[in-house]
């Protein structure tokens, strides 16, 4: 079993649906996204595109609800982490940190 030291993100699997952000009890997650028109296929569609993802591990209660509700399994427990910082802001993980912690 993967130990729950932090959370990793498979960026390519994230559809920026915001379900994790809305479910998070401590509201520690932030997603920036934009919409794009896709005209391939039978009818034009609008999809969300992820711009930035961040988790504030100073607020996160490690409940794993975001991981449970993620419809594409883009979020996962990671055994990398064990975060410590001299500033509170140092515990905020941006997209690049989250992607690095994900199991490929």
């Amino acid at each position: 079993m993967t130990s729950r030291r932090s959370i990793g993100l498979l960026e390519s699997d994230c559809t920026a649906c915001l379900i994790c952000v809305r479910e998070c009890p401590s509201q520690c997650m932030e997603i920036e996204r934009h919409s794009e028109q896709i005209s391939e296929g039978r009818r034009p569609k609008t999809v969300h595109v992820l711009d930035a993802f961040s988790i504030d591990f100073a607020l996160c209660m490690y409940c794993g609800l975001c991981i449970d509700v993620c419809p594409t399994d883009a979020l996962q427990w990671s055994d990398q982490g064990g975060l410590a910082a001299h500033q509170r802001e140092g515990l905020v993980s941006e997209s690049a940190d989250l992607v690095r912690r994900a199991h490929k």
């Binding site: 130990s3 030291r5 932090s6 009890p25 401590s26 504030d56 591990f57 100073a58 607020l59 996160c60 209660m61 490690y62 409940c63 982490g81 064990g82 975060l83 410590a84 910082a85 001299h86 500033q87 509170r88 140092g90 515990l91």
Partner: protein, 137 residues
């Protein structure tokens, strides 16, 4: 360091120059005791030398009711010392950040020199975090 009782002091097993005092406010405080069973920390005993530094681990939710006690504990610890917020509650208020009775992080009370993430952080994360924070001071 239970409020009103004698403080429990630990030393880091790999670096006994680092003395650790735990401010037991909530569940995070149990992790320091857990670290002793994993031989990461050892209870302080008369055989130990004077500490190089004392690390006060603020472990748990700081309510406005307990805030003066935390400040008092901190003021009684001899220098050189640093305060480290252990876990989400002490760092930022954690899941209770929106509660009117909870202090949103100990920086409002005392000068914190370190923050360790977790809810609660694992014993090894606390000990590794303390060592890296002290090492990079």
């Amino acid at each position: 360091m239970l409020i009103g009782t004698a403080p429990i002091a630990y030393r880091v097993a790999t670096d006994p120059g680092i003395r650790i005092l735990v401010s037991d406010l909530a569940c995070c405080a149990l992790e320091a005791g857990s670290a002793t069973t994993q031989n990461l920390l050892e209870p302080e005993n008369p055989g130990h030398d004077e500490p190089r530094i004392t690390v006060v681990l603020i472990s748990g939710t700081v309510t406005h009711l307990l805030a003066p006690a935390v400040e008092q504990q901190w003021s009684k610890v001899p220098d050189p010392k640093i305060a480290v917020a252990v876990g989400a509650c002490a760092s930022s208020g954690g899941p209770y950040w929106d509660a009117t009775t909870v202090v949103n992080g100990i920086t409002d009370l005392i000068p914190a020199s370190g923050f360790i993430a977790g809810c609660p952080p694992r014993p090894d994360v606390i000990v590794d975090g303390v060592c890296s924070l002290v090492g990079s001071l």
